[in-house]
Amino acid sequence: MSKIHEVEVTIKNSQGLHARPAKVFVENANKFESEIEVFHKDAIANGKSIMSLLGLLAFKGCTLKITAVGEDAAEAVSVLAELINNKFNLEENN
């Protein structure tokens, strides 16, 4: 078994992890072979599924833990953490 890579990040964009950010997240997660999971409080989501991520109810200021297992796990967690830190690369209207 490969090692589990994990990282904790806080959501910075005002809308939180709603539909559009979730889509961007999943698109990026799907570039990796690793199994990716996202944790928020007691909830766990599949990092490659929009519906699952929406179910986390993660708003601005919430801390998420991203874990990845697989060959490209280290890269996956750093890319996804970077994405959250960059407010999902989405332009904010307000």
Binding site: I44, N46, S49, I50, M51, S52
Partner: protein, 290 residues
């Protein structure tokens, strides 16, 4: 759940069980990590059990009249023996008169003392269902849970294999959706696994090319269910020509969830194969084997 306390029991089920506080230790609420309950019974005669620790001890009319029939000294001794086993709380049923020394010893040992108006058998019945609910094991799996001909079928497989599309096909054939993507699985005693969806995104599906759709709005209220017993797991795999798939159907395969064994089928997915039909047949076959 390991951190289920008496406080939570009171808050969540206090009215249902009609519990009232007689004595409670200030500041601390003991953890009901044990999640067992005992009638005081023979424990009052000096029988010892290490399983009482952090459990609930129930005093019914037999125990209370037994205590009143003892001399004051013997009564104190009997209760001291019992409380040495460190129960998390004791409950007197039917609002029986509580012996003074039971109150004293509860204060001394910092053990919660509760009373209820319900009679013992009724109370035990309700309490055990509540304890089961709060302490049962829960896990979460990725997959789609459907009700196919009354059989709870959990579709698993890597993302992109087409779980949701196959599920949609089954829904349009009149079967119902329980949960898409993330299935919460509760273990009910002794051997039932029940699957549910995540409350927020319940009964919505993401279909590539279409976006997020609401199943009950498109297919009607009968197309969804809130929970379903899981009776069959189907693992969808990419067709590999070297891999040997089941040809005779004589060997039963299974997988474990929360320590319980569930029948497992491995189905290879190939373009042009109507997976929905195969899954319907798998469910029919499961009914035959029940």
């Amino acid at each position: 759940m390991s951190n289920f306390t008496i406080k939570q029991l009171l808050e969540n089920a206090g009215t249902y069980l009609d519990l009232k506080i007689v004595k409670y230790p200030e500041g601390t609420w003991k953890n009901l990590s044990n999640s067992r309950y005992f009638t005081a019974g023979l424990l009052l005669t000096g029988i010892e059990s290490n399983r009482v620790n952090n459990g609930i001890v129930i005093f019914g009319s037999t125990e209370i009249s037994f205590l009143f029939n003892l001399s004051e000294e013997k009564r104190k001794e009997a209760l001291e023996n019992l409380f040495e086993m460190e129960p998390a709380c004791s409950i007197v049923t039917k609002q029986l008169k509580i012996p003074k020394c039971l109150k004293t010893i509860s204060t001394q040992t910092k053990t919660t003392l509760l009373t209820t108006s319900r009679n013992t058998s009724e109370f035990i019945d309700k309490l055990s269902s509540i304890l089961e609910e709060y302490t049962r094991e829960v896990t979460r799996l990725h997959g789609v849970l459907l009700d196919v001909f009354g059989i709870g079928v959990l579709l698993k497989g890597k993302s992109g294999i087409g779980k949701s599309e196959i599920a949609l096909d089954l829904i349009s054939r009149g079967h119902s959706l329980v949960a898409d993507d993330s299935v919460e699985i509760h273990k009910h005693h002794p051997d039932v696994l029940e699957g549910r969806g995540t409350p927020v995104v319940k009964h919505h599906m993401e279909i590539r090319g279409l976006g997020i759709i609401s199943i009950p709005r498109l297919f009607g209220p009968a197309s969804v269910r809130d929970k379903k017993k899981i009776e069959l797991i189907i693992n969808l795999e990419k067709w590999e020509s070297e891999e040997e798939y089941e040809r005779l159907g004589l060997d039963d395969h299974s997988t474990e969830i929360l320590g319980l064994s569930v029948p497992l089928l491995i189905l290879p997915v190939r373009p042009g194969k109507t997976m929905a039909t195969i899954i319907e047949v798998a469910a029919r076959d499961r009914i035959l084997k029940l």
